[in-house]
């Protein structure tokens, strides 16, 4: 009796699993691969740290369907991206385009790197100059330093 109950329960669970709605996908695996590859480069507007490919949001599913339909209708990847950018702005792109408003974004790190190297060069050259000039000590200070270090006084 218990076994029968268990079997019924398991059957019910399995049926529940089967009855779940399958995610919409193109019949053609090559097309589906293109859809997912493109969706992986686009941002989901609802959960902003997820790509359209990964997101479980309702809107992401709708947008994947739009992408699928458009690619199936023979539109190019670029056309689909343009379609989404026209509606949601550059924000949907995980790789923002290079233009006036994104200049700082793209070039900022290089500017900082160049500035850091500039400061480093400045610092090194200044230290070298100081060393050449005797470490920044005058004769009296040098004599005092020798005294402290216990070295015999030396005439330079």
């Amino acid at each position: 009796m218990r076994r029968l109950l268990l079997a019924l329960l398991l059957a019910g669970a399995a049926a529940g699993g089967v009855a779940r709605e399958a995610p919409p996908a193109a019949a053609d695996p090559a097309l589906e691969a293109r859809v997912m590859a493109l969706a992986a480069t686009l941002r989901c507007l609802v959960c902003q740290n997820e790509t359209l490919a990964d997101s479980g949001a309702d809107l992401a599913a709708d947008l994947r369907r739009q992408i699928r339909e458009k690619l199936a209708a023979g539109e190019s990847e670029d056309a689909v991206v343009a379609y989404l950018v026209a509606r949601y702005g550059d924000f949907v792109l995980y790789r923002p385009p290079f233009k006036a408003t994104t200049l700082l974004l793209w070039l900022g790190p290089f500017v900082l790197l160049a500035a850091a190297f500039g400061f480093l060069a400045l610092y090194l050259s200044r230290r070298r100059r100081q060393q050449l000039a005797g470490g920044g000590l005058d004769a009296a200070q040098r004599a005092r330093a020798r005294e402290i270090l216990g070295e015999p006084p030396q005439s330079p």
Binding site: L59, D62, F91
Partner: protein, 178 residues
């Protein structure tokens, strides 16, 4: 001069605080709409309460109007609703609803339960018009001018403050314009 050097890290610190502090004030959920300044995307949808009749953005040409995206499943729409009702009561400009990815019966029940601020609601069951309008977080509200150009997009619920500070001045300006 030697003393002033100690101020450099302090200055860098203050600059960082200002930079990060201003970053805190930005809301990443408010994605600037590329639609502002462009023609409102065309649509022709069945009306929510009269499936046989259509509503299109063309029908509103010549008027300044608000397009409010709402749904019965949307929680913030419930917060927004009294504000919208109050605004509709003043009759400044017509408010058209876009019932987004909803069930017709649910939407109608919502309106009869909470009141109907809309002149008419378009029924966008598959959300395709929503996609055309770049909707990603209901509620959203668009201000559209007499020539059919989108002038402003509010993401999230309208508040009395947003209406007073943003919507009303803009509407007044657009109404005065040719």
């Amino acid at each position: 001069m030697a003393k002033a050097r100690f101020l450099i890290p302090f200055g860098v610190f203050v600059a960082l605080v200002i930079l990060l502090g201003s970053g805190l004030k930005l809301d990443p959920r408010e994605v600037p709409s590329p639609l502002v300044g462009k023609l409102a995307p065309p649509f022709s949808l069945p009306q929510l309460d009269r499936p046989e009749a259509k509503i299109s953005q063309q029908d509103m040409l010549g008027k300044v109007w608000l397009l409010n995206v709402w749904a019965s499943w949307c929680v913030s729409c419930r917060d927004e609703h009294p504000v919208l009702l109050e605004f509709a009561k003043t009759g400044v400009v017509p408010v058209v609803g876009l019932n987004y990815k909803d069930q017709r019966a649910e939407g109608l029940r919502w309106l009869s339960q909470f009141g109907n601020p809309y002149r008419v609601s378009a029924f966008d069951s598959d959300g395709l018009v929503g996609i055309d309008y770049g909707v990603y977080g209901v509620p959203e509200t668009f201000v559209i001018d007499k020539h059919g150009f989108v002038r402003y997009k509010q993401i999230g619920a309208l508040t009395p403050e947003a209406i007073r500070k943003k919507i009303l001045p803009l509407v007044k300006e657009l109404e005065a314009g040719a």
